[in-house]
Every structure is written in structure tokens, then in C-alpha cells.
């Protein structure tokens, strides 16, 4: 499973969304996620993927987060 797919699965589970509707270029705001939803999601990702993610305004899309996770995994 790619990092994007793992993150999409977590978003779908956390926010009760259809995984098929989640695209890499979508912003969290597009998906109706507010700042605390993003914080909750980041925590779930940290648990699931074993990485530490610092929340910053630069993290706007699912692809942004996937890139950050892949960078840490290198």
C-alpha cells in the first residue's frame, strides 16, 4: 500500500468518508476537515506509520503529507 493509500484509508476511517472520493491534490479544507481534524489525523498517521509529523501551514493537501512521510521514511 502506498503512503497516499494509507493516509486516504486513515482519513476515510477517521472522518467516515468514502475512500474513493479522496484524491492526492485535495486540500483538507476541500474534504471539510478543520484544524483539529487535521491534528487528529496527524496523530493517527504517527501511530500507524511510525513517523513524527510537525503540523505546519504548508501541509495543505493529502499529497503534501504523503511527501513529508516518504521523506522521513528514507
Amino acid at each position: 500500500m502506498s503512503t497516499f493509500e494509507t493516509i486516504a484509508k486513515l482519513i476515510a476511517e477517521t472522518k467516515d468518508m468514502d475512500i474513493a472520493t479522496i484524491k492526492p491534490e485535495m486540500t483538507f479544507a476541500d474534504m471539510g476537515l478543520d484544524s483539529l481534524d487535521v491534528a487528529e489525523l496527524v496523530m493517527n498517521m504517527e501511530d500507524e506509520l511510525g513517523v513524527t509529523i510537525e503540523i505546519s501551514p504548508a501541509l495543505k493537501t493529502v499529497a503534501d503529507v504523503a511527501a513529508l512521510v516518504d521523506e522521513q521514511k528514507k
Binding site: 484544524s35 483539529l36 491534528a39 503540523i55
Partner: protein
């Protein structure tokens, strides 16, 4: 004074543990609803409820004072315990920002309830109740005193930024009190601090010293919600598990997990992670908002009032706040 010197000779083993005899609480008269904010902020009742779980909060207005509220909570705790103010040997007041710069709010409360004992303020942000319990436990362990009145008195409305819609809707004013004495109640307590002012802070006025060219101006409460959310969920769950492990307590044996009422969503995430039913996680954030260190004693006092909390029940308390601080305790009421 002589009595206190005499009692200091008691052996520590006679008062190794602490129990809470009674709780009390007091709320300001003025209720501020979510709709009230829409008159001066770009927000809505629906947004506030969905994002925070808060419907209304109380705010100190007019002739009400923080120490007056604290004294009212203290008197309720005295009445419930069948005690007089003269039976209290120490007053600890947890407050993020006291009524005055000085004297301590505990002294103002002492005057209002008619006590004559020593007084001390504690500031551990929203974790203040657990910190105050820890200090009370230490004072009682010396054997020099028999009873400590802990009062958490908070007037966050005084230093929130009422133009910042992301924070001002969250807080409310309140006071909660607990009377502590030696006994088999407190099973474990854990307090932590990680000095980091960035995510949650406020600045008082720096005065007007003519020789200082770096005097800070007063700045209201600032909070980075995402960082605090992460800190809160991570540390609360860890603290709770730690205090339970310390006294061999399983989650099933706990009657109530009484957590700091910062945001309904933080409570929900913590509950999910601890895998316990919602009935074990009482809330008052809906009608009170986040009342800082007063959250937990106010909620416990309300639970005594409505019969949910009975003597002998097992509680796990957990809070987090500015510092950054955390506190957790396991205790039998």
C-alpha cells in the same frame, strides 16, 4: 500557632495518604450563549457547537469577583463536610491569573470565608487542580496540618482576546473547591511540566519603569489549538495509564474518568483511545466551556449534587494546560 507546632510532632506514617472530604462549586450569574458571539464576531452557534461541543458559558460581570466566586465554592464544600472555616489549616488557590496582581487570591478568599490559616496561590494553568492536590498531599504528609482547602478560581474572560473567534468562545469563568484531609483516598498522582510557553501563553502589563526600554505590553491569551490538541491527547492518555498502573487499577475498575474540559473533541478522542464507555466520561463543557483549573472540581461537585458521584467510587482525573503542564490522579472519593 501553638496548636500547629504541637501537631507538627505527629508521625508522618499517620497521615501518609490524603482523601477528599467534599467538593463545592460556584458559577457566575451571567450566561453567554453562542448566539451572543454572533453580535460582534463572524461565527455561528452551529460552528461553535460542532467544533467545540460548547453551547454556553458563564462570565463574571458587574459586582461579582473571582474571590467572591471562590469563597462561594469554598463555603459549599465546608457545608457539605459539616465543617467551619476555622477547621481549615491551609488554603491553596489554583488560578491562572488571580483577581489582583497581589495579594494572592487565596488570601482574598480566606478573608471572605472568615478563615485565619496560611494561604498560597498555585499556578499550573489548567492542570492546577491536580497540582494543588499534590501540594495538599505534601502539606498533609508533614503532619503539621489536618485539613487543606483547595479552591480553583478562574476568570479566563479577563484575559481572553474577545476579538479572536478561535479562542474566546472556548472559555468560561467558575470556581471549584475540595477539602482534603489525611485518609485513604489518593492512590496515585502524577504531575509533569515541559517548559514551553509558545503554544499557550499570555503577557501581563510590564509596568512603567523609566529605566527599562523593553517593557512588554499586556497581551491576551494566545493558543495554538493544533499543538495543544496533540499534546493533550497524547499526554492525557499516557498519564491516565501511568497512574492506573501505579496503583494496579484497571480501566474497568474506574467509575469515572474526569478529564479537563478543554474541547469535546479532545474528550472523545481520549475516550476512544482508552476504550471505555461514554458514561464514564462526565462532561460540563456544554454549559460551562473550558473553565481552566476549575473544570474538574466543578464537575465533581456537580456530580455530587446530582447523585452521580457517591462515596467510595473510584476516580481517575487528568488535566493539561499552560506550561506546558499535565496532571493525573487516581483517587477513591
Amino acid at each position: 500557632m501553638m496548636l500547629r507546632l504541637h501537631s507538627s510532632l505527629r508521625k508522618r506514617k499517620e497521615c501518609e495518604q490524603m482523601k477528599i472530604m467534599s467538593f463545592g462549586h460556584a458559577l457566575p450569574k451571567r450566561t453567554v450563549t453562542n448566539a451572543d458571539f454572533t453580535r460582534f464576531l463572524d461565527t455561528s452557534d452551529e460552528w461553535i457547537q460542532t467544533h467545540t461541543g460548547i453551547e454556553s458559558r458563564r462570565v463574571i460581570t458587574g459586582k461579582e469577583t473571582l474571590s467572591g466566586l471562590g469563597a462561594k465554592a469554598a463555603k459549599m464544600a465546608l457545608e457539605r463536610a459539616g465543617l467551619k472555616a476555622s477547621d481549615i489549616d491551609y488554603i491553596l488557590c489554583s488560578t491562572t491569573r488571580g483577581e489582583m496582581s497581589f495579594p494572592a487570591t487565596s488570601c482574598l478568599i480566606q478573608e471572605k470565608i472568615g478563615a485565619t490559616c496560611p494561604c498560597l496561590d498555585v499556578n499550573a494553568g489548567c492542570s492546577g487542580f491536580i497540582y494543588a492536590l499534590d501540594v495538599a498531599d505534601g502539606l498533609l504528609a508533614t503532619g503539621r496540618i489536618k485539613r487543606v482547602m483547595v479552591v480553583c478560581a478562574e476568570q479566563v474572560s479577563r484575559f481572553t482576546d474577545w476579538t479572536d473567534r478561535s479562542t474566546c468562545v472556548l472559555f468560561g469563568d467558575a470556581a471549584g473547591a475540595a477539602i482534603c484531609e489525611a485518609g485513604d483516598g489518593l492512590k496515585a498522582v502524577r504531575v509533569t511540566a515541559k517548559g514551553d510557553a509558545k503554544p499557550l501563553h499570555g503577557w501581563p502589563s510590564g509596568g512603567n519603569c523609566p529605566f527599562d526600554d523593553h517593557i512588554p505590553t499586556e497581551q491576551p491569551l494566545y493558543m495554538n489549538g493544533q499543538e495543544i490538541f496533540k499534546f493533550a491527547v497524547t499526554h492525557s492518555c499516557h498519564d491516565i495509564e501511568t497512574v492506573m498502573a501505579e496503583c494496579g487499577l484497571t480501566a474497568e475498575a474506574v467509575d469515572y474518568f474526569v478529564l479537563h474540559q478543554a474541547n469535546r473533541r479532545i474528550l472523545d478522542v481520549a475516550r476512544t483511545r482508552l476504550k471505555q464507555p461514554a458514561e464514564k466520561f462526565p462532561v460540563n463543557i456544554t454549559t460551562h466551556g473550558n473553565t481552566s483549573s476549575a473544570c474538574i472540581p466543578v464537575l465533581l461537585s456537580e456530580m455530587v449534587e446530582d447523585g452521580r458521584l457517591q462515596k467510595g467510587q473510584m476516580l481517575v482525573l487528568s488535566a493539561f494546560g499552560a506550561g506546558l503542564t499535565t496532571g493525573a490522579a487516581a483517587l477513591q472519593y
